[in-house]
């Protein structure tokens, strides 16, 4: 089984099962607006931290360029989310789904930090593809249909367009780096 598929399945399992909290909070389709905002922010922040790990460990120009783009794009999306929450005078709510995301990410960072060279590059590329595939599915199938605030729904739509572009880019990076 490919590393990409393994990473995808592992993350999907993490997202589906969660690691703590109530059953309600673990189901992304049952989060309230403020929990969705929190989870979306955490998902973006995780990829920024993935990118910083790549910049620390990779010498591959394509990997580094992708990582820099992830930092720039996800920080822009997250800033837009913070601006909207400020406008709405709302505070994002931590929840078990966000915690599951973070736990999966921390486990992944521990493994990734042990790698170097081509092995790291391949793992980073595969993980980025799997991560964006999974997050895009959650945002598109669970967050957007269920969020109630219109402005947050619009923001998530724009964010999804961004993450879908990243998914395509990650596909290309996986193909370019090879197996």
């Amino acid at each position: 089984m490919s590393r990409t598929l393994l990473a995808s399945l592992a993350l999907a399992a993490t997202l589906a099962a969660g690691c703590a909290g109530t059953a309600t909070a673990q189901d992304p389709a049952k989060l309230n607006d403020l929990e969705i905002a929190h989870a979306a922010y955490v998902a973006g922040d995780i990829d920024v931290r993935n990118a910083h790990l790549a910049l620390a460990l990779s010498d591959d120009p394509e990997v580094r360029k992708f990582a820099e783009l992830m930092i720039s794009d996800h920080e822009a999306v997250n800033q837009a989310a913070l601006d909207l929450l400020k406008k709405l005078k709302a505070e994002p709510q931590d929840n078990a789904f966000s915690q599951a995301l973070l736990k999966g990410a921390r486990d992944n960072w521990t493994k990734m930090a042990q790698l170097s060279g081509k092995e790291f590059d391949k793992s980073y590329a595969a993980n980025e593809l799997a991560y964006h595939q999974t997050v895009n599915k959650v945002v598109g199938d669970a967050f957007i249909p269920n969020v109630e605030n219109g402005e947050l729904k619009t923001l998530l739509g724009s964010a999804l367009a961004t993450f879908q572009a990243h998914e395509k880019h990650a596909e290309q990076m996986v193909a370019d780096i090879g197996s």
């Binding site: 822009a76 923001l155 961004t162």
Partner: protein, 113 residues
């Protein structure tokens, strides 16, 4: 009735004539004679292809959350954050394919005639 003749009716006609001529002038003037706008929205250049007259100024405006560029042979908007615009004047005829250097699948084409 000849435009410009005296009398109240003529004055009304003249105003209408003037306004309709003004409207016609606005309508028939090529949209790109003085300037054109390319919006960047949902990771696309809109319109993706545009033709402008030599000497026209094209305004690129980024409506996306994330930064983009419009970069082609001999021109570059630089990085445009959300809501930012850049005007570029095209003084020579030619075809100018361009892309976003940050998201290289985003492509557009300008034709300067």
């Amino acid at each position: 009735m000849t435009p410009g003749t005296s009398g109240a009716g003529s004055a009304v006609w003249s105003r209408r004539h003037f306004l309709s001529l003004l409207a016609m002038a606005a309508f028939v003037r090529p949209a790109n004679a003085e300037g054109a706008v390319v919006e960047i929205h949902q990771f696309k250049f809109v319109p993706a292809e545009i033709e402008v007259a030599v000497g026209s100024t094209v305004t690129f405006t980024n409506l996306d959350l994330v930064p983009h560029t419009a970069t082609g042979d001999g021109f570059d908007t630089g990085t445009l954050k959300k809501g930012e615009s850049k005007e570029i004047t095209f003084s020579e005829a030619g075809d100018f394919p361009y892309l976003c250097t940050l998201h290289r699948h985003m492509k557009g084409r300008l034709r300067v005639r």
